[in-house]
């Protein structure tokens, strides 16, 4: 029995089971959903122990079955270090989201069991998209993920959910279809070179594609990933989607789903089209830096807490893309670690913001104030999550942000300097938000409505904070898993780290 296959099938079966439960019994659906997601997480922990970190660059624990032989498509999954940590991130966040969003689906247009089933369906698709080693299969999951998210936003979201859901879907579909064109092109190239077309990732990575074709194919993939990630100027769907969805959906959307974009750049753009990636590097880095600064500036200007968090993510995704495309080992390790850390800190921020919003009945920062006095635990949690988001040393994001910047400086010092401004701005948007909501005099409305966190809510958030602090002090186990995979990417893309330039002491020069 292949544990990876079990991991993929568990939430899928769970979703089917939940759909068969009686519609009226929402509680049972929630219990089953949480049980399934916890078991899934346990299986992913088993996988982590089975994974041989020393060979983290190889695809491990995999399986492959023929799916559509006529197109050379296989149902094949396996994980390398990068995929493994992202799979673990997804399976860890789902139970957290279900526990934290216990009441999210109550009183919504859709049924409770529908909500649970959609989340489980999404979990299955997320595992599939990270673990797929067949590019066609990856594409199928990439598109299939849209459907549950679309319904999660459209049926359980806020007042402007229709607009947000459709905007999300159309942006993603547009990117997906461009990717489809490139995917087909890639298939035709592989058919020309090997005689029979294939979608196997390793075979495709071994092709030599002529530079012009490579650039076109790269563009199809890259635009799809840039929309998903999202990179300025393709980012406008994210604030709408994140603000209108339930906190839980926002966590999965921003914390995991968007990682598919940056993961795709690292795995597919760089390894399949190395020359084109190098060719595109200046533009991509420029876009990444613009995202860092622009996202942070917009975040400072937001009055809506959820939109604020969404814009901080645009800024953070700028860092991740920067790390991927500077083509240094530190940059890419940092970017991968950043994907994980950002997942946890954004999850904590979104969920805490969700608790605040559901208590106060408003998403606007202006409507809060002095919450710290009435809800000290909530305030403390928000502070830790926020500080992690602004990359305070000792919290997890610091390590990754530092690695990304270090990787940037060795190659493009000026880019590194500009990107560092993003950290300063991050301190502004987080601390301003904290100051305006948590400190100061407490208005009567807030005193009346906002109580402190309950046991369930603490139970949901505490593990996230534990991970944030643990990874802040001791990120090495994760880096050990990631680094071999990043080395493989670096080899495939044909990049080498610049030799360290040690300033030579005066007088010793020959």
């Amino acid at each position: 029995m292949n544990w990876l296959l079990v991991l993929f099938l568990l939430p899928l079966v769970g979703a089917a089971v939940v759909m068969l439960l009686p519609r009226e019994n929402g509680l049972l659906a929630k219990q089953v959903g949480i049980a399934v997601s916890v078991i899934t997480f346990a299986v992913s922990v088993v996988l982590c122990f089975q994974f041989d970190a020393a060979r983290g660059g190889d695809f491990q624990l995999g399986f492959a079955y023929d799916w559509i032989p006529a197109f050379g498509v296989q149902f094949a999954m396996a994980v390398d270090g990068i995929a493994l940590v992202l799979v673990a991130l997804s399976t860890c966040l789902v139970p957290v989201v279900l526990v934290a969003g216990w009441n999210d689906a109550d009183g919504a247009r859709g049924s409770v069991k529908g909500y649970i089933a959609l989340v489980l369906l999404l979990e299955s698709a997320m595992i599939g998209v990270f673990a797929a080693t067949d590019v066609f299969l990856f594409y199928v999951f990439f598109e299939a993920m849209l459907v549950p998210v679309y319904f999660l936003i459209g049926r359980y979201g806020g007042p402007r959910r229709n607009y947000a859901a459709v905007k999300f879907l159309l942006y993603s579909l547009f990117g997906g279809l461009l990717m489809l064109a490139s995917l087909i092109g890639l298939y035709v190239v592989s058919a020309d070179q090997t005689g029979s077309g294939t979608f196997d990732f390793l075979s495709l990575a071994g092709l030599t594609i002529d530079p012009t074709t490579q650039k076109w194919l790269f563009l199809g993939f890259f635009i799809a990933f840039a929309i998903k990630a999202p990179l300025v100027p393709f980012h406008t769907w994210l604030p709408d989607a994140a603000a209108e969805s339930t906190p839980g959906t926002a966590v999965l959307l921003v914390g995991v789903l968007d990682k598919v974009g940056t993961f795709g750049m690292l795995r597919y753009c760089l390894e399949l089209f190395p020359e084109a990636s190098t060719w595109a590097t200046p533009v991509v880095i420029a876009l990444a830096v613009i995202s860092i600064i622009y996202g942070a500036l917009l975040a400072i200007g937001q009055n809506d807490i959820k939109r604020l968090i969404a814009y901080t993510s645009v800024s953070h995704f700028g860092f991740i893309v920067l790390g991927v495309f500077v083509m240094t080992t530190q940059g890419q390790s940092g970017a991968t670690l950043y994907m994980v850390n950002h997942g946890f800190s954004t999850a904590a921020l979104f969920l805490l913001a969700g608790f605040m919003i559901s208590r106060r009945g408003s998403r606007f920062i202006d409507d809060f104030g002095g919450v710290q006095k009435v809800a000290p635990v909530l305030a403390g949690f928000l502070l830790i999550a926020g500080l992690s988001s602004l990359a305070l040393p000792g919290l997890s994001s610091f390590v990754s942000e530092f690695l990304v910047l270090q990787g940037t400086f060795v190659r493009y010092a000026w880019v590194g300097v500009i990107a560092t401004i993003g950290i300063v701005l991050a301190a502004l948007y987080i601390l301003l938000m904290y100051q305006r909501t948590m400190t100061g005099p407490t208005p009567d409305v807030v005193r009346e409505k906002v109580g402190d966190l309950g046991g369930r809510e603490v139970l949901a958030i505490a593990p996230l904070l534990v991970v944030i602090i643990a990874l802040g002090f001791f990120p090495q186990p994760v880096l050990d898993v990631i680094n071999p995979a990043v080395d493989r990417v670096m080899v495939n893309v044909g990049a080498t780290d610049p030799a360290p330039q040690v300033p030579v002491a005066e007088g010793t020069q020959p």
């Binding site: 799916w67 006529a70 197109f71 247009r109 199928v140 229709n162 035709v188």
Partner: protein, 521 residues
Amino acid sequence: MSAILAATTTTTWDSPTIEYSALAPILIVLGAAVISVLLEAFLPREYRRPIQLILTFSALVLGLAAVWWQRGTREIAAEGSVAVDGPTLFMQGSILVLAIIAALVLAERHVDPAGDSFAPRASALPGSEDEQAFTRLGWFQTEVWPLFLFCVGGMLLFPASSDLLTMFVALEVLSLPLYIMAGLARRRRLLSQEAALKYFVLGSFSSAFFLYGVALLYGYAGTVDLKGIADALTRNAGEQGLVIAGVALLMVGLLFKIGAAPFHQWTPDVYQGSPTSVTGFMAACTKVAAFGALLRVMYVALGGIRWDWRPVMYIIAGLTMIVGTLFALTQTDIKRMLAYSSIAQAGFILVGVLATNAEGLQGTMVYLLAYGIATIGAFAIVTLVRDSTGEATHLSQWAGLGKKSPLVASAFALFLLAFAGIPLTSGFTGKFAVFTAGIAGGATGVVIIGVLASAVAAFFYVRVIVLMFFNEPPTEGGASVVVPSTFTTFAITVTVALTLVIGILPQTVLQLTQDAGLFLR
């Protein structure tokens, strides 16, 4: 004169050999059609419906069995006028499967409170006392069944025709019954009659173009045989102008039936006015048959000059996709939206045609089957969504349908997702197959237009899903879903299942198209 006399006196006359087994599918259906006419004339009114139904379904099923029995056959039958080969049999099989499902929807009698969806007497003037009298009498007509069988017979022959005259005859055999069937709607009689007349007038025009093209090609090649024309083109014999003009006119006739721009104008009006069950049938089956014929002409007769006609087809395919999607965006009537969507789909399928390679042929066949199944299913659902005056086709009436009838709305959403080409639905398999063939055939530009058009098209498909699932039902004038009899329920179930199967496990169908091989020349 004397030469003819001499010929008749000196040579013995051989009777034409007819390969009955190879022609069995066509003969069974056309034979049943003839019997059906006789039944209509001689049976007492109350026996007609059950016996017609038994006859129709057994003919279609027997036809399908004959196709299965003939699998692997590759021969030119009936003195060179009918080619029975892999692609022919696959398309005949597709047409028969689609026709069986369409017939189930046609046979429905539980949905309309007045009985079936056909006018008690189509010849009566709309709104006249005459018409009202017939409605009051509660008459039912079963004349749709012989028309249907003739139509299916023509469709089976159309993609199999190996010479242009046979193809013309098949075109007429399939078209004439369709013209009448378009005018049979019980409700909105004026729209229905307008549809029938428009279809008839424009259809006859296009037939005339087709025939003129045949004449010019005959003038060039001295034969109407597809292989003969191909040989003449290889020899480069005769007047080039005749070929160009002939091919152009021939293409007008075929592209009209396909509903490709700029010959698509009839589609929305006819799809809207016809009885919805007939619309589904004609949208699905006509397209399979017409694309089959187009493929045969283009690949067998004109394959040698594909460099001359491909640029034109590039433009037509691109234009069809663009026109179909852009106009579909602005529609407020579900049937018109599906009509424009079917125009866009025709554009996507044309990518497979202009690929001019084996993958193109296979991809086109898969796409046609996938499209046909989803189309019949979608129109079957349209027949169920009704208000007090009949089918509720205005989009605003579909709001909130997901809440009232989640199953039906989900099925409709599935068909829309299939049209949009979302993975794990049949539409994706088809789109992937034709786009792959297109890029392999060097038509990258058209494929990119196709991809962008799909992105735009996704918008109007998604809009309907939003309307059904995310919007509240209108306070008044909303539609509700009528519970149909087993016929339609079965049809919808089968189409849903096939849409998923071709999407998730397409290997069987893809294998069938691969095994079908190439056209017999």
